[in-house]
């Protein structure tokens, strides 16, 4: 059933389609409509879930940890300051192996206070052990809520997932989305039956207790192993989803016109969508450019990016947040993946605080990459459109 709806509605509808058992709700712009729509689904009897209004995001995640530990399929959503407030609790589900699903609307974190798109809310959470997937359109939002349940609940993974959508550019934009029928989703996604950890008086267990150093290092490795296992599971689930619903997102990354590309740009989120047009324009002019849509940031597609080192002559990385004192987070990780290849790798910073990333901005990125291919590099870290800064 195709409907014209917002990214927030797509995220909420994903909760319905996956028949989540528990939702912790705390509103924050631009996420508010997600939990509002879910409250309507619960009120209208469409979704049979425990809907808990909590007093903060810190409480929301605490409630999710407890709910997921009872074996419930657990969902919440947040953005920006809300995610920052959750930070302390975010470390818990990846170690207890609780596959919570949480859409996050990427919004700038204060100061200065703003409501528009930036990834400086989710990028700082990259070390907590959550899977992170960045969406390009509203269709991908609902599809990734479904797939995140499947990936996160897989026995070899059992990790929580953040599903990212850009503030306003997706959250408040309507466009056609093809919703699968809930019966089809039921067939695709089995019921969540935790075997490792759940709170049941008939089978008592200790969860999250005080732990001395003799055990913590192994617990850390369990999370790392799950993260590494997730690579194959993600690829398998995207394939299976593609077979069932006709939309195969290609695993951890998607390559766009990369076949004989000499330079490629790596992007996350909605900038990917506009960048496809720019690639088409450059291809029409005979320029061999390609695009990598970085879907998963955690686990980071190390192998996929490394393979590019064999093929291309320059790599550009677009970042919508900055790790002060170094570079954009995607750039840092890309350079790590490309260690050993002596090709130019440039970082493009644009769209911070929600500034529009235009066709002109993306063309500028490709022009710089084509120059870099010939050995001309003005700056490695390129701040685009920042007044007073030479890009």
């Amino acid at each position: 059933m195709k409907r014209v709806i917002t990214g927030n509605y797509a995220a909420a509808y994903g909760a319905y389609l996956t028949r989540v058992d528990f939702v912790a709700a705390y509103p924050i712009t631009p996420q508010t409509l997600i939990v509002e729509h879910i409250s309507e689904f619960v009120n209208d009897g469409l979704l049979d879930a425990e809907y808990m209004r909590v007093e903060s995001e810190h409480s929301a995640m605490s409630a999710c940890v407890a709910a997921s530990a009872t074996g419930a399929r657990t969902y919440t959503a947040t953005a920006s300051q809300g995610l920052a407030l959750m930070h302390e609790v975010l470390f818990i589900p990846p170690v207890l192996h609780l596959p919570i699903v949480m859409p996050v609307v990427n919004r700038t974190v204060a100061a200065p206070i703003g409501i528009w798109c930036e990834q400086n809310d989710t990028m700082p959470q990259r070390d907590t052990g959550w899977l992170q997937v960045y969406c390009e359109d509203n269709q991908e939002v609902v599809d990734m809520v479904i797939q995140s349940c499947m990936i996160g609940e897989h026995k070899k993974v059992l990790l929580p997932s953040m599903v990212m959508l850009d503030a306003f550019i997706l959250s408040h934009t309507v466009e056609p989305v093809d919703f699968p029928e809930i019966e089809e989703v039921d067939k695709f996604l089995p019921k969540y039956k935790p075997e490792h950890a759940y709170l049941d008086p008939k089978r008592p267990m200790v969860l999250g207790s005080f732990t001395p150093p003799e055990y913590i290092q192994e617990a850390r490795y369990q999370t790392e192993e799950s993260m590494n296992n997730a690579r194959k599971v993600i690829t398998d689930v995207t394939k299976e989803f593609g077979k069932t619903f006709g939309r195969d997102y290609g695993g951890l990354i998607e390559k766009y016109r990369c076949e004989d590309a000499e330079v490629i740009l790596i992007t996350t989120g909605t900038v990917t969508s506009t960048a496809r047009l720019v690639v088409d324009q450059y291809r029409d002019k005979g320029k061999k450019v390609g695009l990598i849509k970085l879907r998963f940031f955690r686990p980071f597609p190390l192998q996929e990016i490394k393979e590019l080192g064999e093929q291309v002559e320059a790599v550009g990385v677009y970042d919508r947040s900055m790790s002060f004192g170094t570079a954009g987070p995607t750039y840092i990780e890309t350079r790590y993946a490309l260690y050993g290849y002596s090709i130019p790798i440039l970082n493009f910073l644009a769209g911070l605080g929600g500034r529009d990333v235009t066709i002109k901005d993306i063309s500028f990125m490709f022009d710089r990459l084509l120059e870099a291919k010939k050995g001309k590099i003005k700056n490695e870290i390129v701040w685009i459109g920042t007044r007073g800064v030479e890009p």
Binding site: F168, I169, P176, T270, S273, I359, R387
Partner: protein, 296 residues
């Protein structure tokens, strides 16, 4: 592909109009998207929203800088903003106004359609929310969509946020507007100055944006900048105080969110129309019905 920019004021439903248009276009087999530009959200403040329609999947996700059509939900905006800014050659303006197109001055001769959407909305809905009526005018003036699709689009989108009966009433407003739309050409007797913006380099910008009262090329910024930024133009309804009925209980003075009720000594009150946005809270709270909201 065609692109549409809607100009309205917070609360007039520009965003829902943009969404209903996208839905209507989708119902006719197109791909469509609609999105708002969010400034600081305040009822009455000028806002814009956008719709894009194409035969194939739309990839571009930037804002719209050169629309094919501009739609204006509040004709007072025409005097404040150069609404034809960026309008493509051969583009068209669709304006909520009781005037004829040739009596409207957009500073540039463009194809213009007018409709008294406020009048129709007051008749059909009882409120001056013009976002449905204006879509009927859009369908008529552009010929891009069937009015039945517009009606369906309105019912689809509006019933997500309101009672279905009210959504259907909105569809009726669109149908009435469709029949009453006048298409012509506007006049171009005035000129609009390009809106100035303060765009300092990072070095010129106060550190951490800790901004003292400052004069910039775009006017005052920092504390006191509201001296230049009069919000009275946002009003659709004006509060009129009947001094005979007023008992000086000061409820209005307490409740006014903008501090626009001034005490003159201990005996009388004065409304500051330079800043009053016409929200009507004062009239709603007055226990003696001494304040009446009158259409501007």
């Amino acid at each position: 592909m065609y692109e549409v920019r809607f100009h309205g004021r917070g609360g007039q439903g520009a965003r829902m109009a943009a969404e209903a248009l996208a839905d209507a276009a989708f119902l006719e087999g197109n791909y469509a998207m609609a999105f708002p530009f969010f400034g600081a959200e305040r009822r009455g403040a000028p806002v814009v929203a956008f719709t894009r329609v194409d035969k194939q999947k739309i990839r571009i996700r930037t804002q719209i800088y050169e629309p094919d059509y501009v739609v204006v939900l509040d004709d007072k905006l025409v005097d404040l903003i150069n609404i034809t800014e960026g309008l493509k050659k051969g583009g068209m303006a669709i304006i909520n106004s009781a005037k004829k197109p040739e009596d409207i001055d957009l500073g540039k001769k463009v194809s213009t359609a007018t409709i008294d959407a406020t009048g129709i909305s007051l008749d059909v809905l009882g409120v001056p929310i013009t976002n449905s009526a204006i879509l009927g005018a859009f369908a008529k003036a552009t010929g891009l969509l069937d009015i039945d699709s517009i009606k369906k689009g309105i019912v689809d989108m509006f019933s997500m946020r309101m009672d279905k009966k009210l959504a259907e009433k909105n569809a009726r407003a669109a149908a009435i507007a469709y029949d009453k739309t006048i298409v012509g050409t506007c006049k171009a007797q005035r000129t609009f100055e390009k809106r100035k913006m303060w765009l300092p380099t990072y070095k010129e910008m106060p550190l951490g944006l800790a901004t003292p009262p400052m004069k910039t090329e775009a006017g005052l910024v920092g504390p006191g900048s509201f001296i230049e930024n009069k919000t009275g133009s946002w009003r659709t309804f004006k509060p009129i105080l009947d001094h005979e009925k007023c008992i000086m209980c000061l409820f209005c003075w307490f409740y006014c969110p903008e501090g626009c009720i001034e005490r003159v000594g201990n005996t009388t009150l004065k409304i500051n129309y330079d800043y009053c946005k016409g929200c009507g809270i004062c009239a709603n709270e007055c226990p003696k019905n001494a304040i009446e909201m009158v259409r501007e």
